[in-house]
Subunit: 301 residues, 2 copies
DNA sequence: GGATGCGATAGGCTTGGCCTATGATGAAAG
DNA sequence: CTTTCATCATAGGCCAAGCCTATCGCATCC
């Protein structure tokens, strides 16, 4: 059975006239007659009682028409829904973001994204890198903003902008007197984030350090880490976009001598079909952050 | 778009594997790939994200699947309903019956009909001949039991059985003394039914009378007419099947000299497609009433 | 590095739907 | 009573769409 046949059935039932129904369907009357006849043979039931003057749906036909109409409207709903989904720059877009980036980047890019991609329903999802990659591979995210390269052939990524690190010091720290701080000078009393944050390894690597100090003091989040630095527990590196929050917490920031930093990238599945959306989102973010690296690395905001 | 394509879509979404989905659909894998590709082009949306290892429905696909399933189940409902409607001897059968026949015939034929045609849902409809013919032509009845011939090329009929008339007399009527009553002897004080009952004209014709007597006394129904006769208002002819009711009312019945009577027929639209049902019903009734005419005409039950 | 599994592509075949032309039938009109 | 008209059914030919087998491209696994 064919959807077209159901349309024909509905047309004949509505017009009660083969010629007019055929015209309404855009086919010739003989074609319609043949198709209805086939349908009747398939069903094993007479659908219409024909005379040379009248065409009347049988009781059986009336019983079937409801289902036929349901099928036809359902397929029309499919087409209508597909029309709405056609634009790759429209609809839900689930974007993963690492925790050391989300609270500082999102306020900057929300408005530009809304303006550039008004139909895109952005759903941010904050989680650590490995969780984001898992969700990405599980099709639970459409893309992710990370600060690391991605491995494997199933995922691809593209750099969006460079984010320099800054030395974060308690106000009364000796290094606060310097204009510029060498990364290696922070090793002595450096605090880091808890396991799982990519910023943790990046901080330690930038300072040439393999084992974390501070004993059990491993902050679960960047705000906590900032509070710990402000309270004088030690020093750390913070990503440039967090500078404002750090200053608010009463922390002294200094540029780094070796200009250590990280690259924020957008990652997605290699076969993800809405690549235009990924690229559009990446482009808006990159544009918004263009020139940020130089300013941040040089003058601490 | 084709229903088949929707089935393919559902199969791929369910199996997440083209080869297995193709096997489930009974087609080859290349065919399935091509059809899904076509569907994607028609929709303008990627439906599946393919790698060499995995096939995952896109978000758009998930939105469409519900409608697709609705369409497929609706068409399956069509086929299932059609299967149930396939037997012409099953299902609703609206049978019109004239009022001077219904209450006396139905008790006789209900049981045989139920036994011979257990799947037929008989819906009797009692009305006068012209109303029955109108409803028949309007497709509001499937057949009708009448005591007249039908005119017009759109309706056809077949005789079922002959029903003799009987003279109905008050117990103290002079003619009650006779073994046999001549139709013309009843003319003097004959009562008839109201307009619209075919029995009215048939009675008058049988007695060679063109104008009804009895003034305004025209019974609206046969039971009323019987009561009037029993009360001594006059005489009349009754159809043989009503003999029992007449005797119960205290009326004397006598066979008629000229053996006047009527023929009960079943009528239906010439193009009515469930002719087997009509013929089966007619046959059951004719069989039940076989031999009735001789017995009734001779010995008054 | 060959073997394996999967989806995509190519080419040929057959079915099915469509058309025009014509037939059959019944009703209305001359 | 015959003609004409309207309607649905049938016939024959054409073409697109769907299907199959064979093969390719790609990635993974041993």
């Amino acid at each position: 059975m064919n959807l077209r046949d159901l349309r024909y059935l509905l047309a004949v039932a509505e017009h009660e006239h083969f010629g007019r129904a055929a015209r309404a369907c855009g086919i010739s009357q003989p074609t319609l007659s043949v198709q209805i006849r086939k349908l009747e043979e398939l069903m094993g039931v007479a659908l219409f009682e024909r005379t040379s003057k009248t065409v009347a749906p049988t009781f059986a036909c009336q019983q079937l028409i409801g289902h036929a109409r349901a099928a036809v409207t359902a397929t029309e709903a499919i087409l209508a829904t597909a029309r709405n989904l056609r634009d790759p720059l429209a609809g839900r877009f689930r974007l993963g973001i690492i925790p050391t980036l989300a609270p500082y980047l999102l306020p900057l890019v929300f408005a530009p994204l809304r303006e550039a991609l008004p139909a895109l329903e952005l759903e941010p999802w904050e989680d650590q890198t490995s969780a984001l990659l898992g969700r990405l591979r599980a099709h639970e995210l459409d893309a992710a903003l990370l600060a690391t390269e991605v491995d494997g052939p199933d995922l691809v990524s593209q750099p969006l902008f460079a984010e320099p690190f800054l030395a974060a010091l308690p106000p009364d720290h000796p290094l606060a007197a310097c204009e510029v701080v060498a990364e290696t000078d922070l090793t002595r009393d450096m605090l880091v984030l808890a396991d799982g944050h990519c910023l943790r390894e990046q901080t330690m690597e930038a300072c040439g350090q393999s084992e974390a100090l501070g004993g059990t003091l491993r902050a679960a989040s960047l705000p906590t880490l900032l509070n710990m630095v402000a309270a004088g527990y030690g020093t750390t590196l913070i990503p440039g976009l967090a500078a404002g929050a750090a200053l608010d917490a009463g922390i002294v920031l200094r540029p780094l001598a070796a200009r250590a930093g990280r690259t924020v990238r957008i990652a997605w599945r290699a076969h993800f079909p809405r690549r235009p959306a990924v690229e559009a989102v990446g482009e808006v973010i990159a544009n918004r952050l263009r020139g940020f690296a130089e300013g941040a690395a040089a003058g601490t905001v």
